[in-house]
């Protein structure tokens, strides 16, 4: 068989190869727009903010940290969007999960590891609830999770006030002291590397001799690990193919035996879980939880995923794209800060970026699936 297929391929191989130039291949990738956007943003701030310390070690860690928190969300959201659904409740989920960690730890004195596990347990339940509602009712997930957005936010404020009389719970830092699970979410890694880097002069030193950058925050580690895992899952596992299939055409997927409902429910569990991950990282980092955390994060995460090439209709997109989308967000946010432009303009820029991304995605998809 190999012989017979090889023969005609070589006969007109050259002519065929010239028909799919690199540009067209690149156009078929969902990340293209985000790569172009990221390059543009870096070049722009490289010129405008080059001398401000934005691209010093400290500056890079800063914008990576901002990007990574959004990126963790965006990766989960991208998976769900590829699977053809939305989750608007993740912003509220961040606040809710933060309280689920903080209240038992501070008010009731539970060990931190138990609180963290409890938060992820709650996330799984919320995800299952969202997913179950969406697949059984057949209602648009946009509406179902919009309900979730209000319910979770309201319940978080309600319970927090009921149990503590306030809307903010602090003192988590002390509660996390010495816990075995907490360092996985809060804190930093590679401190030794930065001490060494500063000793050879690559990274600047403070007056007391410690490096300016003490280490890589865990959020950045999670960001890259999750991005790698999500990419691998999407491109190289059965489950990944099912996500694309469920989002691309759910009845077609069902007809060939893809468990569409299970896939979708599991994706809602993933989005609720990444929201909880962000919440745990933030709570451990700040040492406090606030009922206002995560406000509008759901829309930012969707924007990052869309800038990264996810289609609103599902079935198309990538985790790397979502990561780049989040990186663009973080870079612009910090870049505007460094250049000293009024930060009010940040949102204008992002809005314009989003619209441009959607337009270009639309065009790319048309090109990618154009009938010969």
């Amino acid at each position: 068989m190999a012989e017979t297929t090889a023969a005609p391929a070589t006969a007109d191989g050259d002519e065929r190869l010239s028909k799919t130039p690199f540009v067209k291949k690149a156009l078929g990738r969902p990340e293209l727009g985000a790569v172009a956007g990221a390059v543009l943003v870096f070049v722009f701030f490289g010129i405008v903010a080059g001398g401000t310390g934005m691209f010093s070690a400290r500056g890079i860690i800063n914008f990576l940290e901002v990007s990574s928190l959004l990126g963790i969300l965006a990766i989960g959201v991208a998976l769900l969007m590829i699977g053809g659904e939305f989750d608007l409740s993740i912003g509220s989920m961040i606040a809710a999960a933060g309280m689920v960690v903080a209240i038992p730890a501070v008010v009731w004195g539970w060990p931190m590891w138990l609180c963290i596990l409890l938060a992820f347990g709650v996330a799984v339940l919320v995800g299952l609830g969202n997913g179950w509602l969406v697949v059984t009712t057949g209602l648009p997930s946009f509406i179902v999770t919009l309900g979730g957005l209000f319910i979770l936010r309201g319940a978080t404020i309600g319970f927090t006030r009921l149990l503590t009389g306030r809307t903010q719970v602090s003192g988590v830092g002390d509660a996390a002291e010495g816990d075995f699970l907490a360092p996985l979410f809060g804190g930093e890694v590679l401190q030794g590397l930065f001490v060494w880097l500063s000793s050879i002069g690559v990274v600047g030193q403070r007056l007391d001799g410690l490096p300016l950058v003490s280490g890589v925050p865990m959020s950045i580690v999670w960001f890259f690990v999750l991005g790698a895992v999500a990419t691998w899952v999407l491109l190289r596992t059965r489950y990944g193919n099912w996500i694309y299939a469920a989002g691309g055409d759910k009845s077609a997927a069902r007809n060939v035996g893809v468990p569409v409902n299970r896939v979708k429910i599991s994706l809602f569990v993933i989005t609720a879980s990444v929201a909880t991950l962000v919440a745990v990282i933030q709570v451990l980092d700040a040492g406090s939880a606030d009922t206002n955390r995560g406000l509008l994060k759901e829309l930012e995460a969707i924007s990052a995923a869309v800038i990264g090439g996810c289609l609103l209709t599902g079935g198309y997109g990538s985790a790397i794209g979502a990561m780049l989308g989040a990186l663009i967000f973080g870079t612009v946010q910090m870049g505007i800060f460094y250049t000293g432009v009024n930060t009010d303009w940040f949102k204008v820029f992002l809005g314009a970026m989003l619209v441009i991304a959607v337009l270009s995605n639309n065009y790319i998809r048309k090109k990618a699936t154009e009938a010969r």
């Binding site: 017979t4 009845s251 007809n255 060939v256």
Partner: protein, 293 residues
């Protein structure tokens, strides 16, 4: 052949409430045989294939696969018995690649535990090989199905069913939305599947597509069978007549001619146009009845 036929349909009926959708349909398909199921719209073709593919259950009668009576709970169940149906929507996702569509829901894996993964190299190779077997040279198995022509998509859906062990292929109007070239691509593939020993049930309302590849013809009209005919016993024209299409078209032709005559006495200009139209319609009907032999 001494073996039991691949699939036997024994006087099945299907009622939806008081509506008789199918009444006493009997037919058999042997290995290496193409059965064409012909009928106009509303004749019950869709109900019949849905019954065969496990979507509906027959109200009465029996389906036997390889001589054994079966009752399908779902299309998946029918598939496990080797009966694969390619519906008109093809169950393909346009945004996904050829490979990913080919193996959708049945992805080959390698490795084990958490490292169990989609074997992309194998999948790509098999997908291009299977497509090459039916004469479609897939330049790049990672190209989106949306970039393929209708005929190629139809062939992909059929190739997928064959690869995953179908013994009986049920094809629901595979040529209806296709141009002449595309349709002949699909017909050629049906002939190939037959040569490989598969049983094919080919649903169509186009006699000219059915006749070249069919061995047997079952005609449906208003939920009843007009009979089973072997190719040797019947001509294309007889089938057309039986489908009622032939008579209706003749009547329509006569009517149009009548209009043209009546109008020519009243208004010269319009009548000329009318008669020209009638003439061209006549040609068309001639084409349908007696295509270029």
């Amino acid at each position: 052949m001494a073996e039991a036929p691949l699939i036997e349909v024994d006087s099945i009926s299907k009622m939806f409430g008081s509506v008789i959708a199918l009444k006493d349909i009997t037919m058999t398909v042997e290995a290496g045989e193409v059965l064409c199921l012909l009928g106009d719209n509303g004749a019950g073709k869709s109900t019949l294939i849905k019954t065969l593919s496990g979507v509906h259950r027959p109200s009465s009668g029996e389906i036997r696969v390889g001589g054994k009576p079966v009752a399908f709970d779902s299309p998946r169940d029918a598939l496990d018995h080797g009966i694969a149906t390619v519906f008109q929507d093809l169950a393909l996702v346009p945004l996904l690649s050829v490979t990913r569509n080919f193996f959708m829901g049945r992805e080959p894996t390698k490795g084990s535990g958490p490292l169990r993964r989609f074997d992309v190299t194998f999948a790509d190779r098999v997908a291009s090989e299977e497509m090459a077997k039916i004469g479609i040279d897939v330049r790049d198995p990672s190209q989106a199905v949306g970039t393929m022509s209708g005929g190629e998509r139809q062939c992909l859906a059929i190739a997928r069913a064959v690869y995953f062990g179908a013994k009986v292929l049920i094809l629901d109007e595979p040529t209806s939305a296709l141009g002449v070239k595309q349709a002949s691509m699909v017909l050629r593939y049906i002939a190939q599947a037959k040569a490989r020993g598969l049983g094919v049930i080919f649903i169509t309302h186009n006699v000219h597509h059915a006749f070249p590849v069919g061995d047997k013809f079952t005609l449906l009209n208003r939920g009843r069978s007009l009979g089973n005919f072997a190719k040797t016993d019947v001509t294309r024209e007889q089938i057309l007549e039986m489908m009622a299409g032939g008579k209706e078209l003749d009547d329509l032709e006569a009517e149009l001619a009548e209009f043209a005559r009546a109008d020519s006495t009243a208004d010269g200009g319009a009548a000329a146009a009318e008669s020209a139209m009638a003439a061209s319609f006549h040609d068309e009907v001639e084409q349908v009845h007696h295509p270029r032999q």
